[in-house]
């Protein structure tokens, strides 16, 4: 379940950038956890910033703040791609 070439992932978004979730290409448990937390296809997601050492990142989705590691964010395909 790789990321299609040329597609943007959440990891590529800069601070303040916004995207729409297209697909979650993560392995089972991580994908389920993300979806349970509201990161589902169609959800709008905004990058709010990163931790002092650059990782993890902070995003807002469904009106609340969520943090995840970059290695987790790279599985989340976002639009525009």
């Amino acid at each position: 379940m790789g990321i299609k070439e040329g597609c943007k992932t959440l990891k590529d978004l800069q601070k303040g950038e916004r995207g729409k979730v297209v697909r979650i290409a993560a392995p089972g448990p991580l994908r389920r956890r993300l979806m349970d937390m509201g990161v589902v296809p169609g959800a709008e997601i905004t990058v709010e910033g990163a931790a002092p050492l650059g990782d993890p990142i902070e995003v807002t989705v469904k009106g609340y703040h969520l943090t995840l590691r970059r290695e987790e964010a790279q599985f989340i395909e976002v639009e525009p791609c």
């Binding site: 697909r23 994908r31 389920r32 509201g38 589902v40 002092p52 990782d55 943090t67 995840l68 987790e72």
Partner: protein, 688 residues
């Protein structure tokens, strides 16, 4: 799992379910007051909170399910909550929902309703929602979901009476039919096929709501599939699994995505519809900085974030241990004095000396050994409650995760690891803040390698005696060695024991909130009393055992070569020959060191017949020690077997004797290997 002791039939059960950070604990406290009890769910590390509610002369059993965002198969917490609702069938489930974050919270609500739970919703934090211009119509929500919805502000006890009344009312009413979300023609078709098969299979139909089970099978829920696989005596079970497999494949091909995603997606679609109808005014989309955002701009700031966190942690550490020290000392002295007094009284009554000694050192010494931990545990959990309830704990994990993750740990592991330098007992209790099982287990297992304050007197005794010029470096090297071994072992354990377990970091950063005195105090009390109950007995038993070994057979000098302890030391001594300290005195000191690491100093003083204050003279004049063997002994003291209080707390926190035995065994083996390596390599390099 999940199959807990059923309460007596006449007592009805209320279960609390909800996301994390929604004030669920606060509602639990409001319902049960002081009538609560903290334990563990059987066989797992997850905490179980139970209590009693007395309403209009009747008693109800209240159970606080773990805070979860979902009820999937991937986390221990979620499986516990799900199994409890499914198999223990509480009479009513109070679903605590954060009104400021309705959409995500309603996800769990729909899952509960799909399971057919008898739900009453507590729409909590209504005050905050109003401040943020979120206007929710509880009546509309109630109509749409077909359940009572009670607005509450748990921190101010608002709406609690109404909530109780509704819950009690609901218990008398017949259970509602499970919620049916329309998953669309294609998925519904497959649900129907599966449901038909399930309905024809009584063993399965009686155990699970059929539509719910069909959905779980389509989602590919591994736990449910395992459970069905175990039903081997009914041929239909296999048929169901085959059909589920087929339906999943069919839907994937037809709809171009896996059914799990489609189902979750539909669920959120359903919720979006609810929110549209029930939330009258959505908060302005305009970017208005909330107080939370402003605080975050500082405490997670690129340059300030880490220093602020480290200063906060330093403050917690200093305040916990500095304030606790005099209190602990006072308790220890008080119990020492009581012991002396009782022994004196017994002697004056003509009791045998051995009995007086037992009362003084065994009984009062043992109780004292338990109580010294109470001040640091209370203080620590006071601060941890503040950090957790305020929302800062999640920021700490956010800020530290980059560093801790490179060691194979979680951002939240930092606090327990740091606290280990003070005392491993409260440090291991602090791992409760870690949600993920593997993160938590690893942090518990490696925590004893953090050099606690009790080990410092031993380090100082030897370092000042044998390395008077380099005391600081020697002591520092031991701390460093402990940290390095902890990192190494952490990685090793993850690879060996928790390989398949993914530990996602994905975590909510909740808004900052003012902690309430009540919840902080209850939290402190829970921890302190659980420690006394669960760990206290083990500590007491071991203190008495070691007392017996050191003082028997009757008439021997304390811990002398003739005592059982001394004989035991002589048996073990040859084992330590390759590490350079193969004499019974060292072995005896290590055995008593299990009581408390600082006991090594006093024991060495006793076995060399010079007393604790002159222990340094004793070890020097014995001719047993060289600088190299002294250093190897310190390494052993650092690593080998955690003290009994730590062992007891590992038992309590892992809820497993197996893991406790493992912690004892691996530290012993690791300590021995490292001490031998240091001694032998040191000799090869020409040190002595």
């Amino acid at each position: 799992m999940g199959a807990t002791v059923k309460s007596r039939p006449e007592i009805q059960t209320i279960a609390l379910a909800g996301n994390l950070n929604v004030g669920k604990t606060c509602i639990f406290n409001a319902l049960t007051g002081a009538r609560q009890y903290v334990g563990n769910w059987p066989g797992v590390t997850v905490e179980k909170k139970e209590g009693r509610l007395i309403h209009e002369g009747r008693t109800y059993h209240v159970i606080d399910l773990p805070g979860t965002y979902s009820l999937s198969a991937y986390s221990e917490d979620e499986v516990i909550a799900r199994n409890y609702i499914l198999f223990d069938k509480p009479h009513v489930v109070i679903n605590v929902v954060d009104a400021t974050n309705l959409e995500r919270n309603l996800y769990l609500t729909t899952l509960l309703l799909e399971m057919g739970a008898n739900v009453v919703m507590a729409l909590n934090m209504m005050d905050e929602a109003q401040q943020r211009n979120i206007e929710i119509d509880p009546n509309r929500l109630s109509q749409l979901l077909g359940i009572p919805v009670v607005p509450t502000v748990a921190t101010r006890n608002q709406g609690i009476k109404e909530l109780i009344a509704r819950a009690v009312e609901r218990m008398a009413a017949p259970s509602p039919a499970p919620l049916k979300i329309d998953y669309g023609k294609d998925i519904e078709g497959e649900i129907e096929k599966l449901q038909e098969l399930i309905e024809k299979t009584p063993v399965i139909k009686d155990r699970y709501p059929s539509r719910w089970l069909a959905l779980k099978l389509l989602e590919g829920d591994r736990r449910v599939i395992e459970e069905i696989k175990e039903i081997k005596w009914d041929k239909n079970a296999e048929k169901i699994l085959i059909q589920a497999e087929e339906s999943r494949r069919y839907l994937s091909e037809l709809l171009g995505d896996d059914p799990e995603t489609l189902i979750v997606d539909r669920r959120y679609g359903f919720i979006a519809g609810l929110v549209r109808e029930a939330v009258k005014k959505k908060p302005g989309v305009e970017k208005r900085l909330t107080l939370s955002d402003k605080i975050d701009a500082i405490v997670t700031h690129r340059y300030l974030g880490l220093p602020i966190f480290l200063v906060a942690m330093w403050a917690v550490f200093e305040l916990t241990f500095r304030l606790a020290e005099p209190l602990s000392e006072w308790l220890e002295e008080a119990f020492g004095w009581l012991g002396e007094a009782s022994a004196g009284w017994l002697a004056s009554m003509g009791a045998p000396e051995i009995l007086a000694s037992f009362v003084k050192d065994g009984l009062f010494g043992g109780v004292g050994a338990v109580l010294v931990f109470i001040p640091p545990i209370f203080l620590l959990f006071f601060f941890i409650s503040l950090l957790e309830d305020s929302g800062y704990m999640a920021r700490g994990a956010y800020v530290m995760d980059r560093i801790m993750h490179s060691f194979g740990l979680h951002g939240k592991s930092f606090i327990p690891m740091l606290l280990g330098f003070g005392c491993n007992v409260p440090a291991i209790m602090a791992t409760r803040t870690l949600e993920n099982r593997s993160d938590r287990m690893i942090t518990i297992l490696i925590n004893p390698l953090m050099s606690c304050m009790a080990r410092l007197p031993v380090y100082l005794l030897f370092a000042m005696t044998f390395f008077p010029e380099h005391t600081g470096i020697v002591v520092f090297s031991l701390y460093l060695l402990g940290i390095l071994l902890a990192i190494l072992m952490g990685r090793l354990f993850r690879a060996l024991f928790f390989k398949g377990e993914v530990a996602p970091f994905v975590m909510e950063l909740p808004p900052y909130r003012m902690p309430t005195a009540k919840s902080v105090l209850i939290h402190m009390w829970d921890r302190g009393s659980a420690f006394i109950r669960k760990a206290g007995t083990i500590i007491l038993a071991v203190v008495i055992l070691v007392w017996a070994l050191a003082n028997l057979p009757v008439g021997v000098e304390y811990a002398s070569e003739e005592s059982w302890l001394g004989q035991l030391g002589s048996v073990f001594a040859p084992l330590f020959q390759p590490a350079g300290f193969g004499h019974w005195q060292a072995a005896v000191a290590l055995i008593t060191g299990i009581l408390a690491k600082e006991a090594v100093v006093g024991t060495l003083g006793a076995v060399y017949g010079v007393g604790e204050e002159k222990a340094h003279v004793g070890i020097l004049e014995s001719g047993h020690w060289t600088p190299l063997s002294a250093y190897a002994f310190l390494v052993m003291t650092l690593i080998y077997i955690p003290c009994v209080a730590t062992i007891a707390v590992i038992r309590r926190e892992t809820n497993s004797w197996k893991w406790t035995a493992f912690a004892v065994a691996y530290t012993l083996v690791l300590g021995w290997i490292t001490a031998v390596l240091i001694y032998q390599v040191g000799r090869l390099l020409g040190f002595s």
